[in-house]
Each structure stands twice: as C-alpha cells, then as structure tokens.
Symmetry: none
Subunit: 154 residues, 2 copies
C-alpha cells in the first residue's frame, strides 16, 4: 500500500470543482473505486480519505459509545462536516460549499499527500499557518517526532 506524498496545486472553477492530481490517483487503491470522504481537518484544511482508508476511521467511530452524551457529541460533530465525494468523468471532485468556507479555499486548492490521507489547503492559509514555523523549529520538531518512538503521537 503506497503512501500518498507530494503537493499539487490546482485551480478551482466557479462550480467548486478541482482536478484530482493524476499522480495521487495512481496511488489510490482500486478498491476505493474513486470514492472519497472529505471532511474538516484539525488544522484549517480538509482531509480527503479514499474509501478504503475511510472505513478504518469508521471502525474507530463505531467503537464510540453512542449511549453517552459525550459519545454522541463526538459522533455528531465529527460526521457533521464529512461528506462522500467521487471523481467525475474528468477526474475532478467538487468541494462542498461549507468545506470551502471552513478551509478558506476559493480559486486554488493545494493537495498534499500525507500517508493514508490527502490534505487540501488554501495556499494562502497554509502560508499563514506555517509563517511562524522557522526552519530551526521544524528540524527540532522533525527530530522529536521521528526520533523517539514514544513521542510520535502528536
């Protein structure tokens, strides 16, 4: 199972459609059938999961106890901003309006492969977000995350 990597910038047309990067498409398992789930990310970006990986997320969700109030709150606020999307005949996805709002994406979308999912950013947002990330700090983080096994859940 090859992992997603690389970044690809594409323009969003006035119907909210973006071409899905061809290189990433080649990495999507045929099992996913060009079906994806798109949702709010933790950062101000979107997550795009091919169907097969999304199922693992749902596995986790299904273990949340829906008989507790907190459990229901988790499920509700998680699934609320998730939607199924699929590629059209031109290999595009169309971004739901509320997710474009959330992520600040308007005319350009930046796809970033991150192992088992794909992040989609507004280029400007990502810039702002990374503005305070100095090179030195990044290297420090890098070593921290990659270095110690016990630390890499962040």
């Amino acid at each position: 199972m090859p992992s997603f990597k690389g970044q690809y910038e594409h323009s969003v047309d006035n119907k909210g459609r973006v071409a899905f990067p061809a290189k990433l498409r080649k990495l999507v398992s045929p099992a996913a059938q060009d079906q994806f789930t798109i949702l709010r990310g933790q950062e101000p970006c979107l997550y795009l999961y091919p169907q097969d990986h999304w199922e693992e997320v749902e596995q986790k969700l299904s273990r949340v106890n829906s008989f507790s109030k907190n459990g229901r709150t988790v499920i509700r606020n998680f699934l609320r901003f998730a939607e199924d999307v699929s590629l059209d005949k031109q290999n595009r996805i169309s971004l739901p309006a509320h997710l474009m709002d959330y992520s600040g994406i308007d005319s350009t979308a930046l796809f970033i492969g991150t192992v088992d999912r794909i992040e989609i950013w507004s280029p400007a947002r990502l810039n702002d977000f990374d503005a305070d990330l100095s090179d030195e700090y990044f290297h420090e983080l890098f070593e921290k995350v990659m270095g110690d096994e016990s630390e890499n859940r962040e």
Copy 2:
C-alpha cells in the same frame, strides 16, 4: 453498509414538509423502502431511523425487562413520541407537529447523518447546544476518534 454522514439544511414549508436530502437517500438501504421512524432524540433534536435500523432498536427494546417498573417507564416514554413516516412522491417527509414543538424546528431543518440514524435539528438549537463546546474540546474529541487506538473509548 455505508453510514450516514454530512449535514444538510432544508426549509420546512407551512405544511411541515421537508425535503429528505438526496445524498442521504442514496445511503438508505433499499430494504427500508423509504419508510422511517421518527422520534424525540436525547438531545433537543429528532432521530430519524430508516426502517431496517429501527428494527434493531426494537430488538433492543424487546430485551428490556417489562416486568420492572423502570423498564416499563423507559419503553413507554420512548415509544410515546415515535411515529412512522414515509417519503412522499417528492422525497419529502412531513414532521409531526408535536415533534416540531419538541425540537424547536420551524422554518428550517438541519439533517445530520450519524452512522445508523439521522438527527434533525433546529439550526438555532444546535448552535445553542454547541455553544459551550469550545474548539479545543472539539479537537480533543476529534483526536480521540482519529488518534490512538487505546484512546477512543468514551
């Protein structure tokens, strides 16, 4: 069995009818035959179960001990506010008046897919309800679901 997800806002006309979101409809099992059961939710919202999932709920109900007072109270007050509804020829459901009162829904209904059922909220109510749900708390919840295996029990 794909799970319900996403939120969809539709207007309620003066006869109490709402369009059932097309994307959710595609996820309803054909076995459910466009038949649903609608009832009071635990939060100030409504639950909408496709018939096939409702049957599972009834299974559970049937295992509640009806020879105990508590058992009878639970069953009575649960079923009291439940009603069968089905889609009309325009794919709408009509909301029973007493459930609109309970949920505070008037001119707009917000459908939220939550795995095996669909919640229907008054948008304003949901806002109030989530008012004390800070972003940080949400992210914490989020990580519980997305994050570490051992953490996702709630």
